[in-house]
């Protein structure tokens, strides 16, 4: 494997006394698309929140381009080029569609993504740009959430449950857009409940179970049985 852009070294995470992640090790190469699957409560969202800096850690536990970033605040992590598309979209209700997108550019990082490129990717957003973000449909909101993350021109983009609560046809259109998004050599981690969707766009998969990695491998090398076992922790 080439030099990893992002590695996790024995990453733990806690909510108060409750430990959500136990010694997670991961290596993600530049340009890779990695799927993170697992049941509810397995620690997938916690994993992304830890990487994004919403949960802080010892610096050396998250290494990005050779620097320990585990102890940085979320805004500092964002400035270094890691963007999170949060679960449930989480748009800013007081901001219009275009403002939601523009705030993604707050980090000031240069790169291929601009407001015009977002509009080219999701043309409906241009029509709706001055509307309040709350007036959009769920799928359109998800487009804004993705566009907002892309506006930061990240090196690594983290998707948390992008299909959650959306109609299948919308999910399909968003997944159809993914190759355009990660095609520019962007590194992506995709957390997803829908296993087949996750596997269809990724080259490698990690399965989490109760805060630990229970399975990892190239997407085409893991069998359905392996996944079932790793997912539920039972002998299938």
């Amino acid at each position: 494997m080439p030099d990893p852009v992002l590695s996790l070294r024995q990453l733990d995470a806690y909510y108060g006394d409750f430990q959500a992640l136990f010694g997670i090790d991961m290596e993600i190469a530049a340009g890779e698309v990695v799927a993170i699957i697992g049941a509810n409560g397995a620690g997938k969202t916690t994993l992304l929140r830890s990487i994004a800096g919403l949960l802080t850690n010892e610096a050396a536990k998250i290494v990005y381009h050779g620097d320990g970033i585990g102890a940085l605040r979320a805004d500092q992590v964002a400035g270094k080029g890691i963007a999170l598309v949060p679960e449930g979209r989480q748009l800013f209700p007081s901001l219009s569609v275009v403002e939601n997108l523009m705030i993604g550019a707050q980090t000031g990082r240069a790169g291929p993504w601009s407001i015009d490129k977002i509009y080219a990717l999701f043309p409906i957003l241009k029509e709706r740009k001055d509307q309040a973000s709350t007036t959009l449909s769920g799928g359109q909101q998800q487009m804004v959430a993705i566009g907002r993350a892309l506006m930061a021109n990240p090196d690594v983009i983290l998707f948390d449950e992008i299909s959650l609560g959306l109609a299948p046809v919308i999910i399909k259109s968003i997944y159809d857009a993914l190759p355009d998004i990660v095609g520019d050599g962007m590194t992506a981690m995709i957390v997803e409940q829908d296993i087949s969707k996750a596997l269809s766009v990724s080259s490698r998969v990690y399965c989490l179970q109760e805060g630990r990695v229970s399975l990892t491998g190239a997407t085409d090398s893991v069998s359905r049985d392996d996944i079932t076992r790793a997912y539920f922790g039972v002998e299938a």
Partner: protein
């Protein structure tokens, strides 16, 4: 004609109250912080204006060039040094800390300037008047009102048309997600307090030109500010101006009936609004 005059005077007075209130409204809107020391910060600004005019021999309005940036700097340091540490799920710590701050400011001013009432001298503008169809309005109240409108319009512009305002609104909506966008919450809050205290500087100077002041008058300014914010509706700056005007008119009409009723009439108007429309007259429209 006397009544019309009273209403007009009250409206203009409301401009000053809106200036007291704008800073309160802004920081509550951005960070849900209720600043008990706000009135004392207004008085602090008035004293800073006084010292500036005395030392440099300049007009109080010119003193704004020094007092505004100074107050903004104090606001930023205060927010990042102290107030940010008090913000969280519990609303009590910021109340207690700003109350303590209020006591500290009052006593520091008492040490530095004594309890003697002071006043800034703004020259002819204080007594100048203009006649409008049989009514005479003071130039200073007119200027104050115009400044209030300009300040509210300016804040409105910053809030809805600039990157800073976007950062304020985003952080107010969801500070975690705003942080993910690269906005440092501590800095955004510092900027909000800096802006609020820059407005407070204007309010303090206009207060010190209009009436005499001493270190103890901050509490009443805080109440007037609060009442204007609540009457107008939380989070709506134009509503705050309307709230200030309603409060001012109620006070001048009260004073017209009986001079002793001035303050009481203002409080009664506030209570009536609170009883009938607890959300205020113009609460923030959900955008």
């Amino acid at each position: 004609m006397d009544w019309v005059s009273a209403i007009l005077q009250g409206t203009l007075l409301g401009g000053l109250y809106a200036l007291f209130a704008a800073g309160l409204s802004l920081i509550f809107g951005v960070m849900r912080l209720v600043n008990i020391a706000h009135g004392d910060l207004i008085v602090l600004a008035a004293y800073m204006g006084l010292s500036t005019t005395v030392m440099l021999g300049v007009h109080p309005f010119m003193a704004l060039l020094i007092v505004m940036p100074a107050m903004a700097g104090i606001g930023y340091v205060l927010q990042r040094g102290i107030l940010n540490r008090t913000l969280g799920d519990d609303i009590l710590p910021p109340l207690l800390v700003t109350f303590g701050l209020s006591v500290i400011i009052q006593n520091a001013l008492l040490e530095a300037y004594s309890a003697d009432p002071q006043k800034m001298n703004a020259g002819v503008i204080e007594t100048a008047g203009v006649s409008l169809g049989g009514l005479t309005l003071g130039v200073l109240p007119l200027v104050t009102f115009a400044i209030a409108v300009a300040v509210i319009a300016g804040l409105q512009f910053i809030f809805y048309r600039t990157a800073l305002g976007r950062a304020f609104r985003a952080t107010s909506d969801n500070s975690d997600i705003a942080q993910l966008m690269g906005l440092n919450k501590a800095h955004v809050f510092g900027m909000a307090m800096a802006l609020a205290l820059a407005v407070t500087a204007i309010a303090g100077i206009l207060l010190g030109v209009r009436t005499s002041f001493d270190p103890s008058v901050g509490g009443a300014r805080l109440i007037f500010g609060f009442e204007a914010v609540i009457i107008g509706g939380l989070g709506n700056l134009w509503g705050t101006l309307a709230g200030g005007v309603i409060l001012g008119v109620a006070q001048t009409l009260g004073a017209k009936i009986d001079p002793g009723w001035q303050l009481l009439a203002g409080h009664v108007a506030f209570l009536v609004v609170l009883a009938i429309r607890p959300q205020g007259l113009f609460p923030r429209v959900t955008h």
